[in-house]
Amino acid sequence: MEAVVVMKLPSFKSLAPNAISIASGHRSFSRVRRSSSLSVASSSATIATDSEPVSLGHSTRKDFRILHQEVNGSKLVYLDNAATSQKPAAVLDALQNYYEFYNSNVHRGIHYLSAKATDEFELARKKVARFINASDSREIVFTRNATEAINLVAYSWGLSNLKPGDEVILTVAEHHSCIVPWQIVSQKTGAVLKFVTLNDDEVPDIDMLREMISSKTKLVAVHHVSNVLASSLPIEEIVVWAHDVGAKVLVDACQSVPHMVVDVQKLNADFLVASSHKMCGPTGIGFLYGKSDLLLAMPPFLGGGEMISDVFLDHSTYAEPPSRFEAGTPAIGETIALGAAVDYLSGIGMTKIHEYEVELSKYLYEKLSSLPNVRIYGPRPSENVHRAALCSFNVEGLHPTDLATFLDQQHGVAIRSGHHCAQPLHRYLGVNASARASLYFYNTKEDVDSFIVALADTVSFFDSFK
């Protein structure tokens, strides 16, 4: 858009951030605060001091200046959080602070800046370890994203442990990133992929999964929370069943770590992956949690600097984990900013975030299901069934991409359309695509209301063309 758009102030006056304006191609944000010292900005959510109770969404929105803007002439309603989350000012400050004051390579130089960068980088590893309750920060391997983390396990652990006839159990609801690496590895090793389908409640059939586990099973690789169905799997039980036959468990926790308390020791999973950008951190960084003994026994995934101990012309010896799996210069600033994101989320409290999202989730489901001709995928919420704060859905006779386009263009509502990197699941559900509205703790019931009004208008618009 060519025109300069002046941002509307948010309706919550006491929480309004500085007004900002956006020009095409150039965003001129005046920073709320900028650290002028060398210290890394400490990050925590600022809780509103108003006497009247405000929701978590209302109280945290001021930390996300991106949310306070107009798009296509309407107030932005950002409901594409399962694809990526927004970043609070504390995270942006941490990134800026690194590049502005102590940008330097890690683990290399002996000069001040390098030492500072290394300290902050390794501190981020400790923060992530604490966040998921890993017993040792050396169990955290930084990767580009969760996809790379899964590929790391597939190529390193998978290629050296899977044999012809071995079985890897997945569900049809996995993200492509937790299907394709195993397809590649199975083609190389002769291992067999087995897929758990959905039950009548439209969740992966746990009974089928349990029956599928046998002495041939070497790995169970499953999601924690589905990015389409909003359902969650009982990882603790699955781990017990898998370990009983000596199989390992990898958990794709991309949709759980940002939204709830995830305790890897309690889950007792062998591997767990998550992505920074879905949990208020920057893109370009994710992590793999792996049990120490497993990581120690795994060969390198990529070769290069940092991952070696000694290099000779004909061979090399490899560093201990996690360095063994972190070849080359990492995304230093992004890792440090991920640490800031973890601080920010911890400052709010993951329990509080989860409880708020459970409430929002119910509200979204209730409102969306009240519209005619709307089919929401995944389980119906009940006392025992808590859905994640997202709804994948279709409106009869309306393509989700048309719907998403109109919502964006006419109402400033950002949702996702397509197969959400879960084509096998969509095929199983008998559709090619779906629309998805996904929430995070900075969303409010007003966002949901705006979405529902906009959706009703969208349906009415397209109906008028039939």
Partner: protein
């Protein structure tokens, strides 16, 4: 359809006066004749179909006006059509008007037979399902048919087919993705977005045109006829036609635009 008769009559790119929609069975001549073009910017386009309590307040750029564009003597070239369509979409400053226009054009698109809705005809890279059928007629012109499960994508296809159906292969290859960026809905200026249907359908049209052309040329050679005298040359970002028959054409994939590999 709640579009009123004036829009009905204009429901073909780019709003060229035509009262009847020809019913086509298979790859007929282009449906739009090179006559005077009436580019109507109708105020009806501002109809509030939905129940949005706050409809856009912007008036249409040429509100309540009918603009007649005297077309050049020959408007059947691909570049003429592209120019007209770009002009039309550029005049639609409100996104909703683009959507409405596309939906109108979608309604003019002849549906593909089920037999053509096969995986081999799928355009990859789109978030919607798009099927593209392509043939070369006896005059060496490329004939396109397309369909989609999305109405907006169908509108894109309708426009692309209006531009390129019946074009010579080199004309098809000469259209650049950037040329279409002004016509985007929802992805303004992001001509290479992987969800950009314009981009993906165009590239699929070009890729398959190239394949047809190579096949046709091979058939020529096998019949021991003189080599096709058309050569493609990629010069400064444009395909140039050469009548030289002394050089053998290089039909390698490298002839495709440099941006080709990014999305397909």
């Amino acid at each position: 359809m709640n579009t009123g008769s004036s829009l009905k009559a204009l429901a073909s790119p780019p709003l060229i006066s035509t009262s009847l929609r020809p019913k086509r069975k298979s790859f007929p001549n282009p449906k739009f004749s090179p006559k005077t073009i009436r580019c109507m910017l109708d105020s009806n386009i501002n109809l509030n179909f939905g129940s949005n309590p706050n409809p856009p307040t912007h008036d249409f750029p040429v509100s309540y006006a009918t603009v007649s564009l005297e077309a050049p003597l020959k408007t059947t070239t691909t570049s003429d059509k592209l120019h007209l369509l770009v002009s039309e979409f550029r005049s639609l400053t409100e996104p909703i008007d683009r959507v409405k226009r596309l939906l109108n054009y979608a309604s003019t698109l002849t549906p593909l037979d089920d037999s053509a809705r096969v995986p081999a005809n799928r355009v990859t890279g789109c978030t919607t399902q798009v099927w593209l059928e392509i043939k070369m007629d006896e005059f060496g012109k490329i004939r396109f048919k397309a369909d989609s499960d999305s109405e907006i994508s169908k509108g894109f296809c309708s426009c692309l087919i209006w531009i390129l159906d019946g074009a010579k292969p080199e004309e098809v290859m000469g259209v650049r993705s950037e040329d279409l960026s002004v016509m985007n809905v929802g992805v303004h200026g992001k001509a290479q977005s992987r969800v950009n249907t314009w981009h993906n359908v165009l590239l699929s049209m070009q890729k398959r045109t190239m394949a047809l052309f190579v096949d046709a040329d091979v058939a020529h050679r096998e019949r021991d006829r003189p080599s096709h005298d058309l050569l493609f040359g990629y010069v400064n970002g444009s395909y140039m036609e050469s009548s030289s028959s002394s050089k053998l054409p290089d039909y390698s994939i490298s002839l495709l635009p440099l941006y080709y590999d990014f999305t397909i």
